[in-house]
């Protein structure tokens, strides 16, 4: 063969062979190691507030999590607000966006309350609630389990007598943050560690201070924030006169709130899943009943047409005789 021809054909063939070989291998591996669910969706779902309100345009939080995982914008969740957007941006390594106001605005947490004197017991709000937080039966008064209500306001619209109010929850009552610390009243922490031997519960007060000051609650929790008994000995030892305990108190409140919110979100998620199971079961049962009834009607029709035929024949027979 012509040597210049082989100089062209050889590399072409070998590259082609390599490409085909690697492609086949990749295809094989893709089939062998196929994975159904995307773990990213679960992680996104954990960050969403689980109100199941549908303001993002998807039916619930998990569908929105799936949409985000496949590239939707992260700023469509008004109940989560800026905190959720920041967490999502952190997880997905994208830029923090402002909330898209066209999906709703950030409002304080609300719960639904039924004005019970006006409720007519129509039971229309009960199937509307995504977390089954409304109790009641037809022709009986309904009420909302306020600790389970996510404030999605999906029950307001179906109510024919408009007896459901969205009431703001007064969260500041139980956990009051104090006035912000005056930054000019003390000097910077120089990590002198004079506070460390003072602490009766063996916390490293200066480490905890930096975590609280930066608003890093996770790190503060790891630095045993909750073990602090607020005795104030570190305050007295500090040569920069930093009011350490004030910082710890604020961080404790923020941490408690965050934990409470997380627990509430987890509960709502669980209730939403159970709600979904229940709705599916009821639908299936209704479908079965409908089919049975249709069959019954068909049989009855057949029976009735047969009996009419029989009667006509009897009449005919009588006429002939």
């Amino acid at each position: 063969m012509n040597p210049s021809l082989t100089a062209i054909i050889n590399p072409l063939l070998s590259l082609l062979g390599m490409g085909v070989g690697i492609g086949a291998l990749l295809g094989l591996v893709a089939r062998r190691f196929h994975v159904e669910s995307d773990p990213v969706v679960d992680r996104i779902n954990d960050l969403l507030p689980q109100t199941q309100c549908g303001q993002c345009g998807y039916p619930g939080c998990r569908p929105y999590a799936e949409a985000i995982a496949s590239g939707d914008a992260i700023n469509k969740c008004p109940p989560g607000g800026d905190a959720t957007i920041a967490k999502l941006a952190d997880l997905l390594n994208v830029r923090v966006l402002a909330l898209d106001e066209s999906y709703g605005s950030i409002e304080p947490r609300k719960v639904a309350v039924i004005r019970e004197a006006e409720c007519i017991g129509c039971a229309k709000c009960i199937p509307a609630c995504p977390v089954d937080a409304i109790l009641g039966a037809p022709k009986f008064m309904h009420t909302v389990i306020s600790s389970e209500c996510t404030g999605c306001d999906l029950c307001v619209e179906p109510c024919p007598v408009d007896c459901i109010d969205m009431v703001e929850v007064d969260e500041t009552a139980s956990l009051q943050t104090q006035a912000p610390v005056d930054e000019m009243s003390f000097q910077a922490c120089i990590n002198c560690a004079l506070c460390v031997p003072e602490c009766p519960v063996d916390i490293q007060p200066h480490v905890l201070y930096h975590a609280c000051r930066n608003g890093d609650l996770e790190e503060a929790d790891q630095a045993n924030l909750m073990h602090c008994i607020e005795c104030g000995k570190c305050d007295k030892a500090c040569p920069s006169h930093i009011p350490l305990v004030d910082f710890y108190q604020d961080a404790k409140i923020a941490l408690l709130r965050q934990n409470e919110e997380q627990a509430r979100a987890m509960r709502a998620q669980r209730r939403f899943e159970l709600h979904q199971v229940r709705v599916n079961r009821l639908d299936a049962e209704a479908e079965q009943r409908r089919r049975k009834r249709a069959e019954l009607a068909k049989n009855r029709k057949k029976v009735s047409s047969e009996s009419i035929q029989a009667a006509l024949e009897r009449v005919k027979a009588r006429k002939n005789t």
């Binding site: 050889n10 590399p11 070998s14 190691f33 773990p39």
Partner: protein, 191 residues
Amino acid sequence: MADILLILVGAVLVNNFVLTQFLGLCPFMGVSGKVETAIGMSAATLFVLTLASACSYLVFHYLLMPLGLEYLRTIAFIVVIAAVVSMTEMIMHRTSPLLYRILGIFLPLITSNCAVLGVALLNINQSHNFAESVFYGFGAAAGFSLVLILFAAMREKMAGCDIPEPFQGPAIAMITAGLMSLAFMGFSGMV
């Protein structure tokens, strides 16, 4: 043994890929914002670089050399590296979801990390044998990880600093990287 130790030390400190050879600079600047992500990136790079240098050695010596196609090595290596990375990702996704979660999006990013291709090509240039190639890849990745994590830690510290406005963000990061590079120059002549 001494040979391999020499290669390792040389790749990690003396001829550090990022700071003296200026390879793999985009992940060095891109994912050094947080120590946590830097560790993820380092682990992924360590894994892929070692594997890729072994694979590219095999491809060069058992496929390209016998056919006299050495001039095709760049394109062949790119294909091999991309295949290794995506295969690793798929297998890891199934067999070890935990590791997959840690490495996360960093695995596919490595495909375009020029340090990986650089190691494969340098292995050929310096005519390393198989074991040397693997250890050179490992050393390069270890050096990359070391520098990346150090840099990320510094950037985390700097986030709380009072930096003059014109120097904020990438500007001060570049200056820091330059100072680190100067420091690493001190290792030259050690091997």
